[in-house]
């Protein structure tokens, strides 16, 4: 079995928090259900009507903000990068670019599956594709670039 075939154990919420720096109200990832370093990752975000952003988006009809879907993608990307480049320490993750298409609204009660795969990965950055599903429907897809910038260079 090559390292490319190696799958890691799924991650729960606490394990995710040990990897990503975001905290409430910016945690957009509940679980990692599949992770294959350098190859692919699938994260899950369960959306409830109690999410803070539905208060304002929108008061009369709750719809998940596209920006928060992008945040879920970015956080899945951080977990993927961290697993793929395990020597990474003391960095801040910065999104370099994002090109995304939103195909369907995401509602309270939906469960988002966020799949991220690398197009190009280096030791300090990557370009990725993202594919977000609810049940069997694609709700968003796109590409993004992200870097891991050492904190002493920020």
């Amino acid at each position: 079995m090559s390292s490319k075939d190696k799958k890691l154990a799924p991650l729960d919420f606490e394990q995710i928090k040990a990897i990503i720096p975001q905290r409430f109200p910016f945690l957009m990832l509940d679980r990692i259900v599949e992770i294959q370093p350098g190859v692919r990752i699938v994260g899950v975000k369960n959306l409830t009507g109690n999410e803070w952003f539905y208060q304002g988006h929108f008061p009369k009809k709750a719809i998940t903000p596209g920006a928060m879907i992008c945040e879920a993608i970015a956080q899945t990307g951080i977990v993927f990068f961290s697993a793929s480049q395990p020597g990474t320490r003391d960095v801040t993750y910065l999104m370099g670019s994002l090109k995304i298409r939103f195909l369907e609204p995401v509602w309270p009660g939906d469960q988002m599956f966020i799949e991220v795969t690398p197009l190009r990965l280096t030791s300090s950055a990557g370009i990725f594709t993202a594919h977000v599903r609810v049940e069997d429907r694609t709700v968003a897809k796109g590409e993004f670039a992200m870097s891991a910038k050492p904190n002493n260079q920020l």
Binding site: G96, S97, L119, R120, A125, G126, I127, A145, S147
Partner: protein
Amino acid sequence: MASTTIEQEVKALIADIIEMDPNEIDPDASLVEDLGMDSMMALEILAGIEKKYKIKLPEEELPKITTVNRAVELAKKYVK
């Protein structure tokens, strides 16, 4: 592949990423200092060249993408 074709294609690819008109780019201008390229754009250029010519460039080549002409040289070195 014709050398002028690679030159034009790489220039167009870089122009698209740094959001400039290809005709306005001096091929010897510094991508970082003169044309505003950042490290993420450099990676996008590397990945764009790889995708276009179906080649794989070593990560060590990334810092060599300093001008359009250097990027063209890089592409020519790896494109068979």
